[in-house]
Symmetry: C2
Subunit: 243 residues, 2 copies
Amino acid sequence: MNKKLNEQSLPEILTNPKKERSSHDVAIYNQIFDAILSQRLLPGTKLTEEELAQIFKVSRTIVRRALLRLSQDCIVDIKPNRGASVACPTVKQAKEIIQARRIIEAEIIREVVKVIDQEQIDALRKLVGKEKINVEHHIRSSGIRLSGDFHLELAKVSKNTTLTKFIRELIPQTSLVIARYEKPGYANCSHSEHYELIEIIARGDAHSAVLLMDKHLLHIEDKLDLSEYNQLVDLKTLFSAVG
Amino acid sequence: MNKKLNEQSLPEILTNPKKERSSHDVAIYNQIFDAILSQRLLPGTKLTEEELAQIFKVSRTIVRRALLRLSQDCIVDIKPNRGASVACPTVKQAKEIIQARRIIEAEIIREVVKVIDQEQIDALRKLVGKEKINVEHHIRSSGIRLSGDFHLELAKVSKNTTLTKFIRELIPQTSLVIARYEKPGYANCSHSEHYELIEIIARGDAHSAVLLMDKHLLHIEDKLDLSEYNQLVDLKTLFSAVG
DNA sequence: AATAAAATAATTGTATACAATAATAAATAC
DNA sequence: GTATTTATTATTGTATACAATTATTTTATT
């Protein structure tokens, strides 16, 4: 496993500004979360408790807590007595995740257009600027993460913490879906659509914004090969059909 | 605390039919989940680890795992070094929860109308029948739970596990909202709206079904007193405004 | 040599001991 | 008698020991 998991998307200190020192497992959770989000940890990777405990220099107690959190987010899969591994979404789940995002982010956009102010627009532009630079410099991990951050920031602007929580879960799940099902040879150019989206939001055109967001999310699905034969099947099922 | 937490909404054995014996904390999680869902555990109730450990005859390790799960569902609130208590949603959260349900359940209904079969329609009718009997016999807890089960079963019919997971979280949150903010003197008669909904779904009228579901959820909000002065405020803030 | 059985090793699951922190009660000062 | 400090108790946080389970290797059998 990559031991350099030190880039973080949302430093815990920012998410929880009121200096309520939260427990150590949150830091580990954040690092693994971010590694999955930025595709440094790929679907299926085994996550051994003892190994993680040594890397982060804590006891298994803490690691188990972090893994349980991640499994509740559906980005880590825990099988009883058989341990944890990075989740490997099925074709069906992949479609569901995109569909869920479409309806939730449509609502978020409607809310965002209503409440966004100039400062927030500038912040979003800055974020997409960063995203563009990273993608152009082929800093793949950071580019992917910043793309996710854009959607998360939009959700936060909407001020609906419940929907934001759902989107916060769906973003790393989308990362796993892309890692697993992306058609080869596609360049990531989501930042251009992000730019467009900001301009439409800034104009206050709710209807167009919703449509563009939906198009943007469908565009993600277009880049995937979600055909049945691409589905991972367990070997028994596979060879039972041999003629 | 009520020690008779033995009625269960969704026995773990049914949720996880493939006899993968899951760990003991899931059973405790389910019991507390159900106690919150059916309003036997009310917002703000302290959940002491040692106390729960004795009730369920397990170590604190297991209790802590169950509590962490519940806190990720936003129905238990864990404060560092200060323990867990049943969550107490704010007015803002209450509104968000209903709003989230409106958009997600609208989508679920659209899907349900497309895919539902006669067997599933009968099962839903049976469920609402039970709900009616329990409400009429003033078996409050069971009535509330069965009402939640109706929405959960609808979500399952839609076959979208991602949206179902979200609804599964929003249902007990709604229970907490109702427990906290319900206007006095309202009879629970959601089962009649549930009956209506089934008939419209059975007719295959997607548009009307979506409208009725939305009306039904708004009806829940109507029964609440979500005015600002009803908001729980900490004492310091309260008395700092005294003239 | 291929298969099955047994032994060993690795990994996860749970309880418990102890440390750290917070809440409460008692003691002291004014 | 009230306020502040100190001591005590209760509760949560973490590491670790050991049990239970699964994975791997070794040995035995054909």
